[in-house]
């Protein structure tokens, strides 16, 4: 059988429906979400207007994202770009957490049943608390400690930049049980919201972009959780983890990386389409030479977005096929966000000074998109992953 780059018609139709809906119904609230540093207050009603099921957290009866032949991860990729096309505020209201991905990657069958399956079917948000003030990329530097005390693990330390940390069902916290073991001593612990000693010290940072997303600072102050909340372990502590906490964390992120590329692509495509339409109306204002340059720019930018999409589709295609390839996921995330920044900036430039106005959303999308090349593995971190598949651990 020959290669086929086309998605199945049902998935194309679904993606288009989500995209059009997100642009018409969600985008009008983009400015408000940015100003309030929160999704619009009436977000459940806005989600109610969707003509297709979205897999809502708050309203499971509104229907799950349908199954398509492509599989879960490719579907999720299409979904994520289409949702992001409207605006960046929509995605977290649909429970786009990543804590449960760690459960999936490291949990025992009992843990999967307790913390993965319910979240996947309900879409409830889950937090991923790895980053601390002193480190982000170098995850071996985890300083939060987990100490065994009889039937509990007791967590102490602070985490920053935890997406949806203040609103998640539970947060997966990375802590070290034995600092002398370095990275191998890092374990992942499920800390449900409301656990005594788990404090949200700052619900949301003041940020350049994605202001409507909660980015929380968390403190764990003698926070005691049951033994079985250590991922990969049972209550009696006898089953060794399949993977260390650190590699579990990174493995979980790998699946989600293309989704971040897809969000960036959604914003860049939205910018291109919005700018393209405005520019078409201004054609008469350009000299013929400049107008052909403008047209060529728009075409080239669309092609650049397509190249990024191909890489990310391939990465998620392999996950769905049961052959995940971390290097491909890193290529997708290494490619798209930085190029999307440039696309959005170029669109603003083509529109001239008026393109920077808050009357349009391009200035906001230029702020929003910057994070995509930083979190869930920075652009440099993706290059290291790819470099190591070429050159092994010697690659820096």
């Amino acid at each position: 059988m020959s290669l086929d780059f086309a998605l199945s018609k049902p998935l194309v139709d679904y993606g288009r429906a989500v995209k059009e809906w997100s642009a018409t119904e969600c985008r009008p609230y983009a400015r408000e979400a940015d100003d309030r540093h929160a999704p619009p207050a009436n977000w459940p009603e806005i989600l109610d207007t969707s003509p297709v099921p979205l897999g809502r957290v708050d309203k499971p009866e509104a229907g799950q994202v349908p199954d398509f032949d492509e599989g879960y991860w490719v579907t999720k990729l299409v979904f994520t770009e289409s949702i992001g096309y409207g605006d960046i505020w929509v995605s977290p209201t649909l429970g786009s957490g990543i804590g449960h991905l760690v459960v999936e990657s490291m949990g025992t069958p009992e843990q999967l049943e307790k913390w993965y399956e319910p979240v996947v079917s309900s879409g409830l948000p889950t937090g991923f608390a790895l980053t601390e003030p002193q480190f982000g990329t170098d995850t071996s530097m985890v300083a939060t400690t987990a100490t065994r005390d009889g039937d509990s693990w007791v967590l102490n330390g602070s985490k920053i930049f935890c997406s949806s940390g203040a609103s998640s069902e539970y947060v997966v916290v990375f802590a070290t049980t034995d600092k002398s073991l370095g990275a191998k001593g890092i374990n992942a612990f499920v800390v449900p919201k409301g656990t005594p000693g788990f404090v949200v010290t700052r619900p949301n940072e003041h940020k350049l972009g994605i202001r409507s997303w909660g980015t929380s600072a968390l403190a764990f102050d003698d926070c005691a959780i049951p033994l079985e909340n250590r991922l990969g372990w049972t209550a009696d502590g006898s089953v060794p983890a399949k993977r260390s906490g650190q590699s579990g964390a990174l493995g979980a992120l790998a699946y989600n990386r293309p989704n971040m590329a897809a969000l960036a692509t959604g914003l860049a495509q939205a910018s291109l389409d919005v700018a393209g339409e405005i520019l078409a109306g201004q054609k008469a204002g350009f000299t013929p030479r400049r107008w052909s340059a403008v047209e060529a720019e728009l075409t080239n930018m669309n092609h650049a977005l397509e190249r990024g999409r191909r890489l990310n589709y391939k990465a998620q295609y392999l996950v769905d096929a049961g052959k995940p390839d971390r290097a491909l996921a890193a290529m997708g995330k290494g490619y798209s966000p930085q190029t999307c920044e440039r696309v959005i900036r170029r669109c603003i430039q083509l529109l001239g000074p008026e393109g920077t106005s808050q009357d349009l959303l391009l200035e906001k999308w230029y702020r929003d998109v910057k994070i995509m090349d930083i979190f869930e593995g920075s652009g440099q971190a993706q290059r290291i992953v790819v470099g190591r598949t070429l050159m092994g651990r010697v690659a820096g």
Partner: protein
């Protein structure tokens, strides 16, 4: 003969401007943005330095520096904050234009501009669409009775609503000559639509201004026989200031990020030890230096004895500096990682500022979109 040694004056101005940038402008940057106005004390102090309102000494000013020196001043001030710098420079550019091209009667206005810090003036210049001054579609044509009819639309006009004077730059269709005229902002033929907030640069309230207005003959800056090339070179100088502000912004961002990179530890060493961190910063620095030299050369051409229109040179360097600064500031944010995304650090402000400035005088013919990979 090649001479790339800065003069004593250049060095003195650079030091003064950078000092003001760091100590006066930079601490006020957030407030100026939030309030959409330069704090009064900051404006006064800046005004009193004479760096932003170039007026000859005979009119109570501190003299008009040459273009090279003025660009050094703008870069140094923008090292502190480009938003405040350009607010002052744009207001001051009307004085520059009058001092160089005004009739004797018109230059009398300079006393007020040089003496009163509360005065605001404006030059309505930019039109978007990549237009260079000679291509402006704002027309300034002579009517049968000798008055001037001004028709057109200008964007990003700072202080338009309160500017006194408001000077409009356009082209006389009959002769193709670049012209500048005084237009009263209160004339019913002047429609001022305030821009509101933008990506950055909110310290100077800007507006889109449409003109369809007829003004008396002596509202022309200078006289009809004046050389349009000289005017084009003054306009070139006003445009070039944006490139200098970009270089100041980029330089500050790169230095800030470089400092951070020497302090932030990952994988057992300062992140500056990784070429994934140090090379993008080094490349930004190479591009900044290239842009700075290009600005300086353009400035010497604008000042130079050799006669000629330098518009293309200015367009090229403004667009290059725009790309350089937009990429340098993105690199700065990237260097700080997640911390660069938080307003506790100023790199996010510079990221917005450089991108906003890069759209101001953008010409799609000067560069092409390049994907990152």
């Amino acid at each position: 003969m090649l001479d790339l040694e800065p003069t004593e004056e250049h060095l003195a101005v650079a030091e003064l401007a950078r000092g003001l940038g760091l100590e006066l402008l930079s601490p006020a940057a957030r407030e100026a943005e939030a309030e959409q106005a330069v704090p009064e004390g900051v404006w006064r102090t800046l005004f009193e330095t004479g760096l932003t309102v170039p007026v000859p000494e005979e009119f109570g000013g501190g003299g008009i520096p040459d273009t090279v020196t003025q660009m050094i001043a703008v870069e140094g001030l923008a090292y502190g904050d480009a938003g405040i710098t350009l607010a002052a420079i744009w207001s001051g550019s009307a004085a520059l234009l009058l001092a160089r091209h005004g009739t004797e009667e018109q230059t009398a206005l300079l006393r007020e501009l040089a003496g009163n810090p509360d005065s605001r003036a404006a030059v309505a210049l930019y039109e978007g669409h990549g237009r260079a001054p000679a291509e402006f579609t704002t027309s300034i044509s002579r009517t049968a009775d000798g008055s001037w009819r001004v028709q057109g639309r200008k964007v990003a006009v700072a202080f338009a609503d309160r500017a006194d004077p408001l000077i409009v730059v356009g082209v006389e269709p009959e002769t193709g000559k670049l012209r500048a005229v005084f237009v009263p902002p209160s004339d019913p033929g002047v429609v001022i639509a305030a821009d509101g907030r933008g990506l950055a640069l909110d310290a100077a309230p800007t507006a889109t201004v449409s003109f369809d207005v007829t003004v008396p003959a002596d509202n022309l800056v200078g006289v009809a026989e004046d050389d349009a090339v000289a005017l084009a070179n003054t306009v070139g100088r006003i445009r070039l200031a944006v490139a200098a502000a970009q270089v100041g912004t980029a330089q500050r961002a790169v230095e800030y990020a470089a400092q951070y990179a020497t302090e932030r530890i990952a994988f057992g060493r300062p992140i500056a030890g990784f070429q994934g961190v140090s090379f993008p910063l080094a490349e930004a620095q190479i591009r900044i230096e290239a842009a700075r030299l290009e600005i300086a050369e353009a400035a010497t051409l604008l000042d130079g004895g050799e006669y000629g229109d330098r518009t293309e040179t200015v367009t090229r360097v403004v667009n290059y500096a725009g790309e350089v600064a937009a990429e340098a500031t993105r690199t700065a944010v990237q260097t700080l990682g997640g911390h660069g995304f938080i307003v506790e650090h100023p790199v996010e402000l510079w990221y917005r500022t450089a991108a906003a400035l890069s759209a101001l005088d953008f010409d799609p013919l000067c560069s092409s979109f390049e994907p990152a990979l």
